[in-house]
Amino acid sequence: GEGAGTGVANADSAGSITLDYATYNPLSLIIRSKGWLEKVADGIGQSVEWVNSAGSNKANEYLRAGVIDVGSTAGSAALLARANGSPIKVIDIFSQPEWSALVKTPDSDIDSVADLKGASIAATLGTDPYFLLLQALETAGLSADDVSVQNLQHADGRTALDTGQVDAWAGLDPIMAAAEEGGDLLFYRNLDFNTYGFLNARESFLTQNPTGAHAVVNTYAYAREWALAHEEEAVTILGEEAGIEPGTAQKVWERTHLDIDPVPGDDQIAVLENIGPILVESGDVSSQENVDDALASIVEKSYAEAADRTAVAGAIEGN
């Protein structure tokens, strides 16, 4: 299930769906390992190809290059891509995860965000943990200038925390869950500062193959229902597919909220509006205008609104 063949030309053909699966999108893991979408696509005469995304940035890269039609990213990443000109629309919300928080070591004397003044904090610039960090600092009346942010990849951030090279770490699951298993503590959590899991589609895919897009959203709806009903099996799939320890997988699962309204809308826009100015200030996006345009155009509600798990249940359950 790897490799989408040649990029640009291939991905635009109407009879096929190329989409990603990612460890931060448990529903995609379930759908892929169960082979559900293949069955659904078969019913409408289309074919399916899966591509692994190592992170939101990878998914965006694939979307941009046209090698996938549908990709999963954090909301912030989707906004960033759209604001920088990538023609994508969010068609479904796959989860409201609490995948990032602020982490400290057990022997640390940091108790609250206010204690972070002057501290050095590891974070990966431009990712959800980084945005969470900035929003959290704001709640305590601090800004990025009051701390020293060490730009490290997520896994390296944890090592830096554990070896005492930084005072705190803006962590990301599943590494954060593993760190917790190892004794580290989450000292600041805020579900609302996480930016949701966005399922994005390329605009040209939506115009050329709306049937395919519907099939994907419907299958996600089916998978959501199934996952809520079969937690144990779902956790096992997550652990195996993501290559993480069962205990870690369980923790991640608990923080991934699936019983939400999958229709993208105001909740998502609200949190993204917090992030927009940060993107502009850091130079990741060249103007606020771009951000505003993106916020105004990124949502495509119709697919999720029309989502119907029963439309695909027949094809999936084989009767």
């Binding site: 299930g1 790897e2 490799g3 989408a4 063949g5 040649t6 990029g7 640009v8 291939n10 460890t23 899966w50 591509v51 692994n52 190592a54 992170g55 990878k58 890269e61 694939y62 290059a65 090698v67 990849q153 997520h154 896994a155 944890r158 090592t159 554990d162 070896t163 599943p174 590494i175 593993a178 760190a179 190892g182 993501a242 290559g243 993480i244």
Partner: protein, 274 residues
């Protein structure tokens, strides 16, 4: 005319035994790795580093066994080896051809030399988005990226070495009507053989290095994928496993170049300086 020169001081008999017996040499070559392993074991078990920072060798082994039992390990290894082999063959062949062209033709050198030199400095990671645009994320783009990695060392060493082949030999050969491709294959190539081989060595190593970047191109299998994935989800044991496997495979493939080198040394004898 010279035979192997006598040593200045007479050497230890063990060294002489080593020179004769390649198994003994191999065993001695293992001494250092074993030492490193012991150090690693000590550092990871006496608390200098925590298990996430540096898991014990046994943990890494266990991770390997687990992956092997799921059947993933061999597939990971096989697909990576395939990519490296294909990419290496393509890249080093092209490197040889272009290196020869640039090393021998002043026109080619003036026109294309600077550009190739600039492209050499494009990092492997930077190729990823470009190749994705041009070739997509299939097997082709991965092999291409590995080939790019393998290309430059061969290209650089061959083109440089060709400029320094003993003029007297070339003159002699040309005066006997050996020109063009014949000159290349009969005189210039044998003369630069040591350089070609060290170029191939580096190319192979760089092919493995570029593999990791290549497997960012939408891979779901392969050692590079295992490496980045484990790095992404914090499985330090698997990360180390991937590094170890890459090192071992790199060394094994390098040993194959060594076999070729010895064959060439026999075939071309006192392959001359170049």
């Amino acid at each position: 005319m010279p035979e192997t020169p006598a040593p200045v001081r007479s050497r230890g008999s063990l060294l002489r035994a080593v020179a004769r017996n390649k198994w003994l040499a191999g065993a001695l070559g293992l001494a250092l790795p074993v030492l490193i392993l012991l150090l690693w074991h000590t550092l990871s078990s006496n608390g200098t580093f925590s298990p996430v920072q540096l898991p014990a060798p046994s943990t890494v082994l266990a991770a390997g066994v687990e992956l092997a039992q799921r059947g993933d390990l061999w597939f990971n290894v096989a697909i990576s080896v395939q990519r490296v082999v294909l990419g290496f063959l393509i890249g080093s062949t092209l490197g040889m051809v272009l290196g020869a062209l640039i090393g021998l033709s002043r026109w080619a050198s003036v026109l294309a030399g600077p550009t190739i030199g600039a492209i050499r400095a494009v990092p492997s990671l930077a190729w990823v988005p470009l190749l994705m645009l041009w070739i997509g994320i299939g097997e082709n783009s991965k092999v291409t990226l590995v080939a790019i990695g393998a290309f430059f060392p061969v290209y650089t060493t061959v083109s440089a070495a060709l400029k320094h082949v003993d003029r007297q030999l070339i003159e002699a050969a040309r005066s006997f009507g050996i020109t063009g491709l014949q000159l290349f294959f009969q005189v210039q190539l044998p003369a630069v053989l040591p350089s070609v081989i060290s170029g191939l060595r580096l190319a192979l190593a760089q092919a493995w290095l570029f593999l990791v970047a290549a497997e960012l191109l939408g891979a779901a299998m392969g050692l590079g994928f295992l490496l980045t994935e484990s790095q992404g989800n914090g499985r330090t044991d698997r990360l180390l496993l991937a590094i170890l496997l890459l090192a071992i495979l790199g060394k094994l493939s390098d040993a194959l170049v060594g076999v070729f080198e010895r064959w060439a040394a026999r075939r071309w004898g006192a392959a001359p300086a170049a």
